[in-house]
Each structure stands twice: as C-alpha cells, then as structure tokens.
C-alpha cells in the first residue's frame, strides 16, 4: 500500500486543434507533457501557473474527466481506469472537484435542493434523514436554508460557489480539487471562501489540491507548491521555500510581478 492518495505518473495530454476528414487529429497541442505528481493524504497542495500551463488539465485528469493519452492516474496506488465496481465508486466519491465559474458549474434548470438531492441519491446517502442532511450541508458551507429553494441564477457568485462546495462535500470525499475556486469572485468574497475552505479542511480532514494563477492565494492555501509552465512542472517544494527562495526563472517572474503590482499592500504592517 502506497502512502500517496492520488498520483499522476508520467501523464501526457494532447488537445487536437483540427480534426481530419476521417476524425483523425491533424495537429496536436501538448497540454500536459510527462507530468509526475504525488499527493499525500491530508496535505494541501497548491498548483500555480498561467492559463495554458496545463494546471486545469491536470485537475481534470485527477477528477477522471480527461483520460491521459499516456501515463497513469493512480488512486491509493491503483490505476483509476482499471478500477471496477465498488472500488471505482469509492474513487468517484473520494475525489471531488470545484470549478472556477460557480454559475456555470450548477445546472441552471434545477433548484439547489434538487441538485444536492440527486448527488445524495446517487451515492446512496439519501434516506429518511435526507432533509436533515441538506440542512447540515448548508450549515457547513455557511448558507441559509432558504437558498435550497433557489435557482443558480438567483444566487450571488459567492453563494453559488458555496453551493458547489456543498455538492462536493455531499458525497463525503477525501480530496477536493479546487480549480481556481475564487478567480471569478471579488477579493472580499474570495477571502470568505478561502477561510471557509480552511475550516472545512480541519473539520473533515480533507486533502486539497488548490489551483490558481495567483501565487499569493496559492501560498495562503497550501503547504506545498507546484509551479507549472507550458505543460510541465518547473518547480516544486514547500510553500515558504518556493516563495522565499525560488529557483526557476519563471517562478521568480511570477513573484516579482506580483510584488511590483502589490508593493503598497505588501509593505503595510498588520
């Protein structure tokens, strides 16, 4: 038994830019290029990179939404594409994902209650105490219960993202993959969501894969940081090392740019 919960082993993913007459790809772009990454149970791993760096593709590989062209995604030491029956369902439940745009990640035609109910039903957790479970979920993510009766378009960005987090928690997962969960939100709402995520991690003993283009946010959320650039991991290490002593030129430029833009707020004492 491996001590790693999730692993990406030599994973490559290609996107076809154009399709040929007979369906064959004519020209491929490498979204992930031979990436190996191991995630330990209970850790907070941050992935930082610009758009096109492959960080979201990697997130979707871990969530089983994109099948790598080569390489393996392992859950508890076993290839997720070889899992069958209960083993597969355990993986499916254990790894959940929260997307960037909270509004497009909720079905616009369904009330919050029905969205959550379907998820509970699918994982066999809906019973007599279903309503109580819904109430608990709402409480856990800091929402009033009347939100259950609303449609996504009636919610603010922050509320919709809390609902998306509640949906992920509904199946009692081990790992949350957070793919830019606060990039579409105001900084003040971002702070609320980040604090919520921190407290949920403590309460439920979750493992986080936190993805963002903003290295300051990633640092705030993670013990360990992986820097991605053009489909490859260019640097990896404990958060404070990466920030204080970046080795790769790309990491240095990320930090330098941020410090330049936010010089004034960086200097304020607290």
């Amino acid at each position: 038994m491996t001590r790693y919960l999730l692993e990406a082993l030599n994973v490559s993913v290609y996107y076809a830019l154009k399709r040929g007459l007979l369906g064959g790809a004519i020209y491929d772009v490498k979204a992930l290029d031979d990436v190996t990454l191991r995630i330990e149970e209970g850790e907070s791993l941050g992935i930082v990179g610009e758009s096109g760096s492959g960080k979201s593709t990697l997130a979707k590989c871990f969530a089983g939404l994109i099948k790598p062209a080569s390489g393996k995604i392992m859950y508890k030491g076993r290839d997720i594409y070889s899992l069958k029956g209960e083993d597969y369902r355990e993986y499916r439940r254990s790894v959940q994902i929260v997307f960037q745009n909270p509004h497009t990640s909720l079905n616009p035609m369904m009330r919050v209650r029905d969205t959550l109910k379907d998820v509970l039903k699918a994982s066999g957790k809906w019973g007599k105490d279903g309503e109580r479970k819904l109430a608990e979920l709402m409480k856990a993510v800091g929402l009033r219960e009347d939100i259950l009766n609303m449609y996504p378009m009636e919610l603010s960005g922050g509320q919709a993202q809390r609902v998306a987090i509640a949906r992920a928690l509904a199946v009692e997962p081990k790992v949350l993959i957070l793919d830019e969960p606060t990039s579409a939100l105001d900084v003040s709402v971002q702070a609320q969501i980040l604090e919520l995520l921190k407290s949920l991690k403590k309460t439920y003993g979750l493992t986080y894969v936190f993805i963002s283009h903003d290295i300051a946010v990633v640092r705030y959320m993670s013990d360990r940081i992986v820097v991605m650039h053009k489909g490859k991991i260019v640097e990896e290490g404990p958060s404070s090392d990466i920030i204080e002593n970046p080795k790769h030129e790309y990491t240095r430029s990320l930090i330098r740019d941020l410090i330049k833009l936010y010089a004034h707020i960086e200097e304020i004492s607290t």
């Binding site: 960005g157 900084v187 003040s188 702070a191 640092r219 204080e244 930090i255 941020l258 410090i259 936010y262």
Partner: protein, 325 residues
C-alpha cells in the same frame, strides 16, 4: 490649478425592476483634472460599474439618472446626443475582452468603421490605427490589422481594445475591471499598458476594480464605494497604506499577501439591499467600530483631512490634524 476635465456632481442612478427600484448610485461627486486617474473600488453590487456606465453613456435601458450632472471638458454629457459623446469625449474599455469584437470583421475593418465615423478615409484610418497599435507595443501593426479577433491572444485583444478606445482621442477613458479576468502574469502587462496611455495621451482615466490592492499601481486617486456611495476618497498610496474608513481597512485585510503569511479577515455579512431604504451609515451592520446609535441613525457627513475625504462617524469629533496624522 487646472480646470477639471471630469466633474461628477451628486449623481444618482437607479434601476427599475419589475417590482422595485434599486438605487445603485446614491449621490456620488468627484472632480478629476486632465491626465489624472481614479480607481473606483468596491464589492460587486456597490454601484461602481453603474457609475462607470453612466460616465461612458452606456447605461442599460432600464437605468434612470435621477439627479446630478456629469461634465466632461465643460460639456454636460447627460444632456448631449450620446453619439457625439461615446468614443469622442468618453470611451469605455469593456470587461469581457473575448466578446467585445465581432468575429466577422478584421481589426482593420473595426478601426476603419470607428475612425470613419469622424470622417476619416479608409487609408488614413488604417494609418492612424497602425500608429496607435505601434505606440502600444505591437511590433507588426499591419499584421494585427489584417487579423480576425479569434487569431489574437487575450492579451493582444486587450491591447487592441485599448487602442480602439483611444483612437478618437477621448478626454476620458473608463476601464471596467481590466485586471480581473486576466491571469496574474498578464495583469502586470495590462497595468503597464494603461499607464502608457495615461502618460502618452494624457487622458483622464477611471479604472473600476474590486481589487483595492492594485489601485496604487494604476491610479493617483482611489475612491472606495459602498452601497452606492463613496465612503473614502484620496491619494491611492496613502489610502492603501493608512486607510481611515473601517470598510477600507477591512477590504485591504481580505487580500492575501505574498511575502508575509498574514491571516485573512473576511468582512462578515453582506452589503445592504439597495432596493430598500437605508438609514444611517450603510456599513454599520458589518462594522467592527460602530459608535453607538449614531451610526445606525445618522448618515455620516464628509470629513476632510490631508487630501482625503472620509464618510464615517469615527472621525466626527476629531480635528483635522488627528486624521491626517
């Protein structure tokens, strides 16, 4: 002292919805001189975008200007034909870069249309366009003019839109959340670009953003808006480094720092519903420093000191010297 280029006087804008009226901007006033730049900062729903749309005469049809005036170079743009204002006196850089240009036209055709509206011929328009693009750092403007929007990257499109915005030599440019949809790595480029047009074209700029921390690198002056009003306005640098209004203080505490690991302190609660009347200070229910009933009952007046204006009862009894200290 130069004459002000942009004057906004007691502006009130509301939206008529099916069953109620939402007062999005509830009395905003400020002045900017030529080349000055202002950041309007606040959470979504505070009225900052509405204010931006009002100044760029591009309010949605259900918005009503209830009171106030907006003067650009002495012209009241609310009483002028919008066609003579948009792009020529005031222009807007839209937030959604991807949706801003028709996918069926080349960049050159768009420029020819825009510049043609002031009577420029096609060739002279393209010449002007290529000069502007060059000044914004495109090494091969001819190629850009022949491209369709989908052939350009997000960063390039943003530059093209900024070029379009300044192409008719407006006096005022408004950018709606220019840095929020772009990666941190592109953000620096956008900031540099806006600063370039500010200095090279000495145009008055207004930046609308939710990110208070970016204000000092973009603007001379920062105004913090809450519930449709400015709660604090002053020079960006000092406003960030020494915020006076409790709301400004809390906003800057909700931004993660890079070099120091500082605990974030989110602002509890939600902004007030602008569809119902507001009594007293709108921030009072979320404010950690409430000064008794005064805050809930009396709307705070302006207190000035050191180039700063703040609307908060905390400073009601204080002399001007203590504020500026």
């Amino acid at each position: 002292m130069k004459d002000p280029m942009l004057v906004v006087k007691n502006l009130k804008v509301s939206y008529k919805l099916k069953d109620r009226v939402v007062r999005a901007v509830r009395g905003v006033s400020f002045k900017l001189v030529e080349g000055q730049s202002l950041c309007i900062v606040g959470e979504s729903g505070c009225g900052k975008s509405t204010l931006g749309y009002a100044i760029s005469v591009s309010l949605p049809p259900n918005a009503v200007i209830e009171e106030g005036e907006i003067l650009v170079n002495g012209v009241n743009i609310l009483k002028t034909d919008p066609v003579t204002v948009r792009g020529k006196l005031v222009s807007l850089i839209p937030q959604d870069v991807g949706a801003a240009l028709s996918p069926l036209n080349t960049i050159g055709e768009v420029f020819a249309d825009v510049l043609g509206s002031i009577g420029g011929g096609r060739d002279s328009s393209l010449k002007v366009a290529s000069d502007i693009l060059k000044s914004l750092g495109f090494s091969d403007p001819q190629r850009i003019l022949k491209s369709y929007p989908h052939e350009l990257s997000g960063g390039m499109l943003q530059r093209v839109l900024i070029a379009l915005a300044i192409s008719l030599n407006p006096k005022v440019i408004i950018a709606d959340e220019p840095t929020s949809m772009v990666d941190a790595s592109l953000r620096r480029e956008v900031v540099d670009l806006i600063n370039t047009i500010r200095y090279n074209y000495s145009v008055t700029t207004i930046i609308i953003t939710h990110d208070i921390a970016i204000a000092p690198s973009l603007c001379d002056i920062t105004a913090v808006m809450y519930a449709g009003k400015i709660v604090e306005i002053g020079p960006s640098k000092s406003l960030i480094e020494k915020p006076l209004h409790p709301y400004t203080k809390m906003l800057s505490k909700s931004i993660p720092r890079i070099m120091k690991l500082v605990e974030l302190k989110p602002i509890p609660g939600l902004p007030p519903d602008l569809g119902s009347p507001i009594k007293g200070c709108p921030f009072a229910p979320r404010c950690p420093d409430v000064v008794g009933d005064l805050c809930y009952n009396v709307e705070p007046e302006e207190y000035r000191a050191g180039g700063r204006s703040v609307y908060c009862h905390l400073y009601g009894g204080a002399s001007h010297d203590t504020i500026s200290a």
